[in-house]
Symmetry: C2
Subunit: 194 residues, 2 copies
Amino acid sequence: MDADRVNTHTDARSETIRSATLELAQELGFAKLSIEAVAARAGVGKHTIYRRWPSKGALFLDAVLSSHETILEYPDTGDIVADLREQILAAVELLARPPLDGLFRSLLGEAQQDAAISAALNERFIAPQTQRTIDRLEKARDAGQLSPDLDLELAMSILSGPIYFQFLITAQPLTHDYIDRLLAALFAGLGPRP
Amino acid sequence: MDADRVNTHTDARSETIRSATLELAQELGFAKLSIEAVAARAGVGKHTIYRRWPSKGALFLDAVLSSHETILEYPDTGDIVADLREQILAAVELLARPPLDGLFRSLLGEAQQDAAISAALNERFIAPQTQRTIDRLEKARDAGQLSPDLDLELAMSILSGPIYFQFLITAQPLTHDYIDRLLAALFAGLGPRP
DNA sequence: GTCAAGACGGCACGTGCCGTTCCGTTACGC
DNA sequence: GCGTAACGGAACGGCACGTGCCGTCTTGAC
């Protein structure tokens, strides 16, 4: 993707703007966030913002993702279920709990209405996260812990989908217990055990 | 939920407004939709719209959901996998393909930023749909086609989650083949077969 | 050391839509 | 036939948009 579509500059002024954006987003929510308010809070002209980011959505995405580059690495203890559980819990604790939950939800919402945001979100967050999961699943498959003919991209959807569904669609709480029951059901399969 | 939160009036004028809303949403997308334009298209004063719906989002939700009351009923042939497959395909064909896909995506996006929309969407669409799935799953469990200790709400998340994930997050196409592979993997389970 | 070029903060502008108010007209219940 | 309520339409103040135009400050080439 075009590197200019979303600003990733590291100069101090860009950092100030990102901080002001995050502050205001926490205070007002994404919907009521305005470029004018960000400029005022950051002590910066509006031009300086428009020169760096093409839209409010792009600025917001960059601010949110830059603030937590934490790579949510995958543990590898050799036990795929335990490792998936740990990684999912870490992601849920970070993204589906205060203070980030509202911002992350807004980000996913905005991506539904702006193709550029959707693409940038995929490139900077979803795709890398997906790839790490697939890499870990591949090791597990090689170790005989997964069905040998399992499509790993499909497995990724199966693992992530119910979490996002709970987060975005039904707005039910993502408890540790839910994740344990989810993993158990997925590995056992829906059908009756012979 | 408060019945006034989302208008469901059936008078002719409300219907005209809903139609104008859908037309403009198709032409411009939800983001560029405005109450002023809807009022002009419908030949109606803005007050007449504000009297019926509290926000652009509420009007949009009502317009989209009212236009397709199609209840996406569940077939019951006795074969749970075949029935799930058919119902999922019907839902995907209706909501994830033109002309409704963009509108449905916008609706889910808006729900992430407006709690009232989220609640109304759940009440009018998500919850009923969920309940129909659970009812069908219960029959299947009683017939011994599902693991007897399966949590049916969890099963609902497991079935729907990957579809929504593909639709909202990765923006990958929802092919028939994908759905077949999804169902196969879910019923077989992720773990190795003994 | 000088100086041109560019980025900057600040201010103002025209535009579009918001949600509300007012006005004169129409439709309907009693 | 009369009063009430909803109506279409126009106008309102307000806000944020994105874009100009200032005068200042920074920076790098020579």
